[in-house]
């Protein structure tokens, strides 16, 4: 197996986006003492008795961010060839999986790894690996993706 890096698709600006994710995480941590785990914050909205206003506003911020981005430059064109059943299946897996595993790419991937939590490192390696295997099988064997 040889690995070929697609330099044509490479976007160095991704680093700027990453730094911004870090800044948002740190503002939440130092500002109000809370962890920026999106699946955790979002799922708290599903527990009406326990939801806090800042959690609702954090999600509002995520939803409004494309509008703000659009003021400066046009939103990046997004092409997806995904079918409806695949979207539904993937949504169910992501919803159930992130709750069972207590986090996603933000909570484990950024916040947990930044704390050098072995638990988050294991979770991150696991979901990255299974994501890679899924794309490998789904794209190159099943032609699903």
């Amino acid at each position: 197996m040889n690995i070929q890096i697609d330099w044509q698709a490479f976007t160095p600006i991704s680093l700027v986006g990453g730094l911004l994710l870090g800044v948002a995480t740190v503002i939440l941590l130092l500002g109000i003492g809370r962890i920026a785990g999106i699946s955790g914050i979002f799922s708290s909205l599903l527990k009406p008795k326990r939801v806090e206003a800042w959690q609702v506003l954090f999600i509002v911020g995520l939803v409004v961010s494309p509008v703000l981005y659009g003021l400066v430059k046009p939103l990046p064109a997004i092409e997806m060839s995904t079918s409806l059943p695949l979207l539904i299946g993937a949504g169910l897996l992501v919803g159930f999986g992130t709750r069972l595993g207590s986090g996603c790419t933000s909570g484990h991937g950024i916040c947990g790894n930044a704390r050098l939590s072995p638990r988050s490192m294991v979770a991150t390696v696991t979901f990255m690996l299974f994501g890679m295997v899924t794309v490998y099988i789904g794209r190159h064997f099943l032609g699903l993706i």
Binding site: A9, G22, V23, I27, G31, T105, A114, T124, F130
Partner: protein, 139 residues
């Protein structure tokens, strides 16, 4: 009030970070996960950049008695690596790979009016509700 403003600001910045980085582009995400195809390594910069800032922030947070609003700084204390963590991360990874969307970008794509997000996010909510129903049975 300040707490809510910080929540909103963090959400806005996080969303902008996801848009600028390319995390909201499912094709790019799947290109990153496609190690043995034409591998787009850009998204490695996202976690790298995020971690550099976040590691510094965590170190500062550990030296602070409280947050800016005076509340305690809450960091998860669970250290156990168990089946729940592994199976959860596994299922999440499969779902993420299938469509290239994880929770943050999915929510941002709602705001961008991307129709796929209007299917993905409701399905994700159902998945979370199934877990909530299932949770007491897991012990």
């Amino acid at each position: 009030m300040l707490k809510n403003m910080i929540g909103l600001l963090a959400g806005l910045l996080f969303g902008l970070g996801l848009l600028i980085s390319g995390m909201t582009d499912p094709t790019k995400v799947q290109g990153f996960l496609d190690v043995f195809g034409a591998w787009d390594i850009s998204l490695a910069l996202v976690m790298g950049g995020g971690l550099i800032v976040a590691i510094t922030g965590v170190q500062i947070a550990r030296l602070q008695p409280t947050s800016w609003i005076g509340s305690s700084i809450e960091m998860p204390t669970t250290t156990v690596i168990n089946k729940k963590l592994l199976i959860g991360a596994m299922l999440f990874g499969i779902g993420w790979g299938l469509v290239g969307i994880c929770p943050g970008p999915g929510i941002v794509l709602l705001g961008a009016g991307q129709w796929q997000a209007y299917v993905f996010i409701p399905a994700m909510i159902v998945g979370m509700l199934i877990y909530q129903w299932f949770e007491p049975k897991l012990g």
